[in-house]
Symmetry: C2
Subunit: 431 residues, 2 copies
């Protein structure tokens, strides 16, 4: 029986989930996996806030650094989050020869170079399945299941809050504000929803996925990021009429010697498998050169799903043996050359454009003339409401074109006297 | 650099895919995985039939037994298929101390007890990712990614041929025969499609999934199996009107100390994620007690996707070390007590019933009276075509009821003078 002594940092929601599972399934893990997980130390600054579990007092401490330095600890599980103390703690843990399991996407996205390199130098396991897609074993798939493949692209719904909000807007015709309020009430969105609705959380996860999918360093700040705050229920309804669903996608595509990497609201054909991923579910679609499209779907958050991923990492560490990796090629690849991210201006895409126009005869002619001048051709037009002299929405879908040209054209069109208010621009992905 | 000497049995489609990838990516695997795969011997009875690859003559043989006995071979990859010679070859390989990788679902479903036990006794790896879901790493997920979970149920679309046929029938209103002919033309169905359309292929894969999901032996012959040959485009259209899609599902659910296990055409709500799995794609949905629903989606067949799974197994074997498992708990569990399969008569389900009735006033009353007598309550009724005195379809959906009662009721109803032809019965799954 392999015995793993665990030091847990953070007894918040996920920490509590982990505590519960390790307590409830101790016998099961021993019998079915041949592993005995011993929760030796728990660091938590505010233990009195936890109403769900009461670990023995003697294993609790408020001093997280004492845990990462404790010689009896084999693996440190970091569930504090954030990029300040957590960063110091993980570094200190690695330097003290501990393996580390973490769910901290912000830290790995913003300081991955430092953390992964240190783990590699110290020959320790640094496992992070829980950092992307909660309980979905997508990192393991990249690391092992798809080992025969070069990954060409990743399209992912990796923020449950925004997917829940968009699903509610789509199903019930709600506004963003209404759907956000509902999500907060249901516990799917935090009181301060910025990280989620701005797309930043998804961008953090995308930085990790792209790094390990393509093999190389990724500069987090180069990932272009648009959130869902400007999406209206009208956009969702118009998209539907064209056969599209709007989702917040994290997209990374190999492109020449670099890649495209962005988080954006996206029109997806209804028949696309990602268009059927609803509610707070996440899904990661990867395209491998041998396997084609593979998709991994499940709960991207929540204490028990996330703890499920943490435990999968712990099991892997236990099986690999306490001595650590002689050479972790997966990590070595991810520490390779920086993969340059193409500027958003140089990408190509199809676009959904919603102009707010004064309804008069020459409007469409004027707009299409400017689009044509910039080399942009229109694939679909829709103007439903007719109300001469009033402001009405005019929807155009374009064929594939350069973002740079699109932006220049929209800027010019927005200067026309018939255009009122901001023009909505949403990218379209076909496959 | 770890060097793995491979003996390949069968240079058919998948074998050729494997050969191509190993040749094309030799350098990549060496650099990115630190593994050198040497294709040392290839056994193929009819090498002249292969028009795609021409391996060096000196590594080719028609005598597969010479390969499994070759002392220089570390891992035997069995891609011959079938349950006769392949069975002997795998046993001989294991007895000769080889690890084995196989895509042979029929063999593992029908002779798993023998093969897995022998692998366990010989302390050899027996890997079979490619046997279920082609390139989708679902066995790895069961084995490792979901290790923290008890699996409660599996719902899977694991036969690409039938999913392609049903998708065509749904999208184009084709009959089964037309869609089958189209699938044969496209290469999605074999000349003799029995194994696929009867549900047997899916049942083979379900036997493997259930064994490793729940941990225990599974008697293949106890898995109830209905194919799609009796599904009409009318059924698909009627189901659609109620908001359902018809899919061939492989279902296994824990039930008391045993399980339900069956392959059946199924009405799934359109909002169900499996209802969006179209064309020849496969998807395996598993419900874990910690993680909730997780789904794995991708190409369930094809030379390169399947070879992708074979290589993932080879990489795992290479990483685990040539000495083999000291103790493979995943295998031990699967060699545990037989999990009894509940008789189909004792399950409960909701049902779609299509009666062919002579259109006269008292018909619905007569049918509902008999259903009521058997304790079956109706949730929905549809009778669109009215044509007094002629035979028209009458569709009923039931609430959950016992199969035994349902069958007794249908038998009784089929005896009514107003019923013409065979009544269609299709089970409904809600979540």
């Amino acid at each position: 029986m392999k015995k793993i002594n665990i030091g847990l940092l953070g007894l918040g929601q996920i920490g509590t989930g982990l505590y519960e599972i390790l307590a409830a399934k101790k016998g099961l893990f021993a019998c079915q996996l041949g592993v005995s997980f011993e929760l030796k130390r728990i660091a938590e600054k505010y233990p009195e806030r936890n109403k769900k579990v009461r670990p023995p007092k003697k294993i609790m401490t408020k001093d997280a650094f004492s845990v990462v330095r404790d010689p009896s600890i084999d693996v440190v599980v970091e569930l504090i989050g954030g990029t300040t103390v957590a960063r110091q703690l993980i570094k200190e843990a690695l330097k003290n020869g501990k393996h580390v399991v973490t769910a901290n996407k912000a830290l790995l996205a913003e300081h991955g170079d430092e953390i992964f390199a240190l783990a590699h130098r110290m020959k320790r396991w640094l496992c992070f399945e829980a950092s992307v897609g909660g309980g979905i074993p997508c990192i393991k798939a990249l690391r092992e299941g798809l080992a025969a493949n070069r990954i060409d692209s990743v399209h992912a719904i990796i923020n449950g809050t925004t997917n829940y909000i968009l699903t509610q807007m789509t199903a019930k015709g709600m506004s963003f504000a209404e759907a956000l309020a509902g999500a907060q009430k249901q516990g799917y969105a935090e009181a301060n929803p910025f990280l989620d609705v701005s797309g930043h959380d998804a961008a953090h996860k995308l930085a990790i996925l792209a790094r390990f999918a393509f093999g190389g360093k990724v500069k987090f700040k180069d990932i272009y990021c648009e959130g869902i705050t400007e999406i209206s229920s009208d956009d969702i309804a118009f998209a539907k009429e064209f056969g599209y669903t709007i989702k917040l996608l994290a997209i990374a595509k190999k492109s020449g010697s670099g890649m495209e990497a962005r988080v954006q609201p996206t029109l997806l054909p209804n028949s696309h498998i990602l268009a059927s991923v609803n509610g707070s579910f996440n899904a990661i679609l990867m395209r491998g050169d041998e396997v084609g499209d593979v998709l991994f779907y499940g709960r991207g958050a929540g204490p028990h799903p996330t703890a499920s991923a943490v435990i999968a990492d712990l099991v892997d560490i236990a099986k690999a043996g306490a001595e650590g990796p002689a050479e972790d090629r997966f990590m070595v690849r991810a520490l390779g050359k920086t993969i340059p991210v193409k500027s958003i201006f140089s990408i190509q895409s199809r676009y959904y454009l919603r102009f707010n126009v004064i309804d008069r005869p020459s409007v469409l002619a004027g707009i299409s003339k400017i689009l044509g001048k910039h080399g942009i051709s229109i694939s679909d037009v829709m103007q439903r409401e007719r109300s001469v002299g009033r402001v009405v929405p005019l929807i155009l879908l374009t064929h594939a074109t350069h973002e740079k040209d699109l932006r220049a054209a929209v800027r010019e069109i927005d200067g026309l006297s018939c255009i009122k208010g901001k023009t909505q621009v949403i990218r379209i992905e076909e496959a």
